[in-house]
């Protein structure tokens, strides 16, 4: 294990900001924990502003968050080495569950995403948002970098398998996130530029095929709507018109907490879930948007620091991928609600209502903490 020793020598450890700490025997990254708690509080506050009947949502969301933080802290206690060694298990489990969904899953709005376990319904695709990068980081972390052709090929297969299955459900948003998370691992692992160039050429080449044969009507519609929301004001364009109106009418300082007419009067659809950034934009204005973005950037900065400081390449790749994927959530969500990206089902982390998304996020942050505190383990 000389490479870890080498790295340790290269980056002298400080305590506090640059590294995680052990706190009463627990592995906790305090800066990250503090940031996430602030973020969670902010999210609950914005959610409470989304509508007059929000208290019920806020309470359940708080419970989800509590569960999420517990999951994060528990995950943080596993060593990166353990995670790397057993990465294949959640990956395989996820694949099997995805198969199950395709066969017996229940759906909503024409998509099969849920697995109903009687007492509990969940989306196996969520697991793979974490399991895929974990699997790839585990795989590539042990290889020569930049990865050779064979390893790139294996990685792509490992990635394509869940991505395609999720895409078939169809859940384009999650498929994109899974793909992004995996590609980040490959990219950070130093994937050679010729592969990157090749991939870009391939994507451009198959895009028409994708458009014509693989996208469903409603997905195509969403992209068309993005180009001209006014074309179908009351149908597909409604969401975008109302969300941009909400954001735009907020101005610099917003209309005030719970004073957003677009959301309070139900003009804004999905105001508790995917479109909640419009509530923030309407009620707190550009100042609110900048504030939330700053919080996100601090979390991302912390994640990148953890990634840089990680002792193993596995840790670096996983931490980097998790952090960048977290950013993709934010980018896609804020982009789609403000009308510059097509509407795909991507929630805004820590603000959108929904338990599954929180659990997945917290699993990722738990792994970040695990990586962050590795050097202090024995």
């Amino acid at each position: 294990m000389y490479q870890t020793d080498y790295v340790r020598r290269m980056k002298p450890e400080g305590s506090g900001l640059y590294g995680g700490t052990r706190w009463q025997g627990l592995s906790v990254d305090v800066p990250l924990l503090v940031l996430l708690l602030v973020l969670a509080g902010t999210g609950l506050f914005v959610l409470a502003g989304a509508s007059a009947d929000a208290p019920a949502y806020v309470f359940r969301q708080a419970v989800y968050m509590g569960v999420g933080f517990v999951i994060m802290l528990v995950t943080a206690q596993f060593s990166p080495r353990f995670l790397r060694r057993w990465a294949v298990l959640p990956y395989l489990a996820g694949i099997i569950l995805l198969l199950a969904v395709l066969v017996v899953g229940t759906g909503a709005k024409g998509a099969q995403r849920w697995l109903d376990l009687g007492f509990f319904r969940f989306q196996p695709s969520e697991i793979l948002k974490i399991a895929s990068p974990l699997m790839l980081a585990s795989y590539l972390g042990q290889r020569h970098l930049p990865p050779r052709f064979k390893h790139v090929l294996v990685s792509l297969i490992l990635l394509a398998l869940p991505a395609i299955m999720v895409g078939l459900q169809p859940d384009l948003g999650t498929a994109i996130l899974i793909t992004a998370a995996g590609l980040f691992v490959l990219f950070l692992a130093g994937l050679e530029k010729r592969y990157i160039a090749g991939a870009i050429v391939t994507v451009v080449a198959i895009a028409p095929v994708f458009w014509l044969y693989l996208l469903r009507d409603y997905q195509r519609q969403r992209i068309l709507t993005l180009l001209d929301p006014q074309a179908d004001k009351l149908g597909a364009g409604w969401n975008i018109i109302q969300s941009t109106t909400a954001i735009g009418s907020g101005g610099l300082y917003g209309k005030g907490w719970q004073q957003g007419t677009q959301s309070q009067l139900d003009f804004l659809p999905e105001s508790h879930t995917d479109f909640i950034i419009a509530v923030l934009g309407e009620e707190f204005g550009l100042v609110g948007v900048l504030g939330l973005m700053s919080l996100y950037l601090l979390v991302i900065a912390r994640g990148l620091v953890i990634s840089v400081n990680a002792r193993t390449m596995f840790g670096r790749l996983l931490a980097g991928s998790i952090t960048l994927t977290f950013f993709v959530y934010i980018f896609v969500n804020m982009g789609m609600v403000s009308g510059i990206l097509p509407v795909v089902g991507v929630p805004l982390p820590f603000v959108s209502y929904g338990g599954t998304a929180i659990v997945t996020l917290m699993l990722g942050f738990g792994m970040l903490m695990s990586i962050s505190t590795e050097k202090q383990r024995n």
Binding site: H144, P146, T261, L265
Partner: protein
């Protein structure tokens, strides 16, 4: 760890760092893009979106004003507003309009005309404006709708004031009625003033005073949610209630007038001589104006239209009858004024009149004639035709036309009601213009007893009686006494009929003796009379009687009998009230029309001087 021997951790780490660096660069770029987008929406285009968001939530709803009420001169309510429920549809909120209408049809049984009206109105609505389908729901309809409301998206039941006429039939033509605004009226209306108002005055006072009765529309600025439900009222500009009207009409006189015509077709007008106010104005048969308020059904409407008594026809303003002998006081006055007669000059009446160089006999109504030495007084009291043939021919048509017009014949009186007709006071110009032939002396003979071409409305008869009573003062009759608290003046012409008192005395004394004289044609109403009435009977031929034929009333169908007319005023020595009466096919003015005047005068005197005269009939 197969590849360990070949791994170069330092190189791999820097490769990772450079990739991470590039990723950070991309992240910052994308953050910049996102923030630029939000900056654009929230700062650059803020005004546009703020406006859009406001127009999303704030809707302006007109709140219609309450229509002014109408009272009689004593404050008896004649036109009321009663709360009723209206079924409207907000088209934007209906899931499927055709389906909704089908379901409503199944529930309530919609009529084709209702649907028609609704669809036409729906085309012109503003967004989210409720379009009325049925006004004044019955209790049964209300409960049917209440039970099914949950599946009738877009249906709105609102309380609305609906016009109600407590004495509908009594005042049917006079008050008129309000009804739903139709397409012909709509282009003429101010869309702002009438937003939220669905009815308009169609006839009578309701139409003439529409402007005053309507009031001013108010507005509610309401906040609605995405489904159009009103969440709260942001601002309310209350509507201004329309002005109340007080009529000159006394409901007790109106009642007497209308009841006196029971079983007849006819018209009665009573004017206040001193003010020009209309004290009573009845056309019989009347009809229930309340039927029209919420939209009359085809069946009811056809029944009214096809009734051979024509109840919808306002005889007072639109019925044009030959005035017959009721014009004799007017033409008698004209004879004195033109000098062709003096109060003392007499004629011999052999029972007919012959024009010079003609063998044609213009007969007097009295076979054998009224005899020798008939002066103006006798001629009016006994209604001698020959006297007036003689005087008329002497004066010529130009003088008859001049004085006839002065007394109100041949042109609308200018009363405050719509659709008044002017009758006909014939002249040389008129005959040349309309008939294309010149005036013959024979035409003058006919005109001089109110026959021939001459036509008058019952209102004109009353006006002529009023001008006689006033000794020449020319006043326009007025139905409305006050608009709100503002009195309505009856305009007085600055060119009154001027004549020496002895001429007026001669005519008025003769009229008094029509009632009070031994030989008066209306002496039948003088029994137990303790005040003085001046009057003149008249009979208007419905069927022309050919030369040489005797007139036998019994042989004619009832509907071909003569019309009975009467004009009068009282008290004769200081007139206060003047009347014009016509009873269609009533045969003799003396027997059918004059008693109605007596009843009206008795009532008037009892109301006005309760101590001197009999008690007020209820």
């Amino acid at each position: 760890m197969r590849d360990n021997a070949f791994k170069d951790p330092r190189r791999e780490y820097y490769l990772f760092l450079s990739r991470l660096g590039f990723a950070v660069f991309l992240v910052l770029l994308m953050v910049g893009g996102i923030l630029w987008r939000y900056y654009h929406l929230q700062i650059v285009e803020h005004d546009r979106f703020a406006t859009q968001s406001e127009s999303n939530r704030v809707h302006v709803r007109p709140s219609p004003p309450t229509r002014g009420l109408i009272y009689d001169r004593n404050g008896v309510l004649l036109a009321d507003n009663q709360a009723g429920l209206t079924l409207s549809i907000v088209v934007e909120r209906a899931d499927d309009l055709d389906q909704l209408l089908k379901e409503l049809d199944a529930l309530l049984g919609l009529e084709a005309e209702e649907l028609d009206r609704f669809k036409k109105q729906a085309l012109r609505r503003k967004p989210y404006e409720p379009v009325p389908l049925r006004i004044n729901l019955t209790e049964r309809e209300q409960s049917l709708l209440a039970v099914n409301e949950y599946r009738l998206n877009g249906v709105e039941i609102t309380a609305q004031l609906v016009r109600y006429y407590p004495h509908a039939e009594l005042f049917s033509h006079l008050l008129g009625y309000v009804g739903r605004i139709n397409e012909r009226e709509l282009p003429e209306l101010d869309p702002v003033r009438y937003s939220g108002t669905y009815v308009i005055g169609k006839t009578g006072v309701e139409k003439f005073y529409e402007d005053q009765l309507l009031g001013q529309v108010g507005y509610d600025y309401v906040e609605t949610n995405a489904r159009g439900r009103v969440m709260r009222v942001l601002e309310r500009i209350p509507p201004a209630v329309g002005q109340d009207l007080t009529l000159n009409v006394d409901i007790r006189l109106q009642q007497v007038a209308y009841e006196a015509l029971e079983g007849e077709r006819g018209a009665v007008v009573a004017l206040d001589v001193k003010t020009g106010g209309v004290l009573a104005m009845a056309s019989r048969p009347g009809f229930d104006t309340n039927l029209f308020v919420t939209g009359i059904s085809h069946k009811d409407y056809n029944a009214l239209l096809n009734d051979q008594d024509h109840p919808l026809f306002d005889r007072v303003l639109q019925g044009q009858y030959p005035p017959g002998s009721t014009v004799k006081p007017v033409f008698g006055f004209a004879a004195l004024e033109t000098g062709v007669m003096t109060p003392d000059s007499t004629i011999f009446d052999p029972g007919f009149f012959r024009l010079p160089n003609s063998t044609h006999k213009y007969r007097d109504w009295k076979k054998g004639g009224h005899g020798a030495r008939i002066d103006l007084h006798d001629a009016i009291v006994q209604s001698c035709d020959t006297y007036f043939y003689t005087a008329g021919v002497k004066m010529g048509i130009d003088s008859l036309h001049y004085y006839g017009t002065k007394f109100g014949f041949g042109e609308p009186t200018g009363i405050d009601l719509p659709a008044e007709r002017g009758g006909l006071m014939p002249s040389r110009e008129w005959k040349r213009g309309v008939r294309g032939v010149s005036w013959y002396p024979g035409d003058t003979v006919n005109t001089s007893i109110g026959q021939g071409f001459m036509l008058a409305t019952p209102l004109q008869l009353a006006v002529s009686a009023s001008r006689l009573a006033n000794r020449g003062e020319i006043r326009e009759p007025r139905l409305v006494m006050k608009v709100g608290d503002e009195p309505v003046a009856s305009p007085v012409s600055d060119k009154p009929i001027v004549g020496p008192p002895e001429h007026w005395d001669a005519v008025i004394e003769a009229m008094r003796d029509v009632v009070h004289g031994q030989r008066g044609t209306a002496k039948i109403i003088a029994r137990d009379l303790n005040y003085l009435i001046a009057g003149k009977t008249g009979t208007a031929q419905v069927v022309g009687i050919r030369q040489g034929e005797t007139y036998k009333a019994e042989e004619l169908e009832k509907r071909q009998r003569d019309h009975a007319l009467f004009i009068a005023f009282a008290p004769a020595d200081d007139p206060e009230i003047a009347v014009g009466i016509i009873v269609e096919n009533g045969e003799h003015g003396s027997s059918t029309a004059a008693p109605i005047a007596r009843k009206l005068f008795d009532t008037y005197m009892a109301i006005t001087y309760p101590e001197e005269f009999a008690r007020v009939p209820d």
